[in-house]
Symmetry: C2
Subunit: 253 residues, 2 copies
């Protein structure tokens, strides 16, 4: 039986909910967590409202083995994630000595103002996640990993954190594109393949190519690489049985 | 007092959680809902697991005036959204006469197989949302609007639905880019502008340009267009007071 740990992702901030910004963090984390065998089970995007953050963190950290958050740890008034995490854990939010020293040295005495000192203020008991891009750290407290929202900073923090995460069985995927076949003609055969491999997730994702050709990406996914391979072969056969030549999709990790 | 209705968005399907697919629906809906004065308050992305869908629909539709869902209404075995919505509402999931007729005529008798008939099977009481792209409808039941996951189809369904949604006060935004100034030097002044306009959401979103220049986008947002304009002027003055020339950001609707 697969005992993989699970992950949730909480994206905090108004810029995606208003449509101002296109999300650029979900796919990176979904892919990397899959590679580490810590599959991502849920994503939530919420505004920077304190009560909403506190309640959502409490709920999601109870539901998943790991909760990753992005956004809201900068120096401005709308950066309230860190204080809210402290509240969710019922611990003080206080200046963190080593981070104060680190950021103080980075900014220099005259520039290490009150706003920047907030970035060195952490929930008591938090362990900083180094930030090789712009110094101000993320942190881990309990099963919650708090990261920046800027993609390049978030990615760097995640890679600092990754070696300390207990890995599970990597999730293997195989994909094939059925170009020119409608999903409705694939459904019965695909359902039969799913029935033959109940431990796998088989998905069908319809698409329309820029040239107007329609079809579906058939994806088999699971931690049993041999079963994924068998299901993949069966999907190739299904497409050929309908008179089409399958187009190999990228085999994601 | 602003009495705008609120919206939640539920994205159903494994392809985004696995990292296989980049989300392409959140930004469209966030923008359009803002224009209609029905601000988007939360997004969740969940896998196609029946219990998860049923529970999340029940929770989110109680929390927001409107719940929009995307994904999982095609013909394959993993398209379980429609049946789960029926369960969440406690109504039968049954063949819908007009949709059966519509899809039967579209596919032709020999091709209107069992899989495709599932796309004409709706929760009792649902009202179809027309699909001008590929015929198979979405539907509205209660305050839940169920749409396809393919962006072009989803967008077409949303525009069919939009005229029937009660509009609120449109959310106005004004943005300005502070290029070359660190957030930590803007924080105090921005906090003062926020204090002067408590009804607005003021946000600071740090960025790094492809050319390596850093800065922050300062955004003022709210339903009081005059206040947004005043806050925008104050943000321009703040940047100039620090010795920089503000760069106008796109003023989103």
């Amino acid at each position: 039986m697969n005992e993989n740990k699970t992950a949730g992702l909480l994206i905090i901030g108004n810029e995606i909910l208003s449509g101002r910004t296109q999300d650029a963090n979900i796919r990176f984390l979904a892919t990397r967590l899959g590679e580490l065998g810590i599959p991502l089970r849920e994503v939530r995007i919420i505004p920077d409202i304190a009560r909403t953050i506190v309640e959502t963190v409490a709920e999601m950290r109870a539901r998943y083995d790991h909760l990753f958050t992005t956004g809201g740890i900068g120096p401005t008034h709308d950066d309230i994630t860190s204080a809210c995490i402290a509240e969710a854990f019922g611990v003080p939010w206080e200046k963190h000595g080593p981070s104060m020293a680190l950021l103080g040295a980075h900014y220099g005495e005259g520039n290490f103002n009150e706003a920047r000192q907030r970035m060195a203020t952490l929930p008591r008991g938090a362990v900083p996640i180094p930030n090789p891009v712009s110094v101000a750290p993320g942190f881990t407290i309990g099963n919650v990993h708090v990261m920046a929202g800027i993609p390049r900073v978030m990615q760097a923090m995640f890679e600092e954190l990754a070696p300390s995460l207990e890995r599970g069985l990597p999730v293997t995927q195989a994909a094939v594109h059925a170009v020119g076949i409608a999903e409705g003609d694939l459904a019965a055969g695909l359902g039969a393949i799913q029935d033959a491999h109940p431990a796998l997730d088989l998905g069908s994702y319809p698409f329309e190519r820029p040239d107007g050709r329609r079809g579906a990406a058939l994806v088999a996914k699971g931690t049993d690489a041999a079963a994924v391979s068998q299901a993949h072969e069966a999907m190739l056969s299904l497409i050929r049985s309908l008179g089409f030549e399958p187009v190999e999709g990228e085999a994601l990790p």
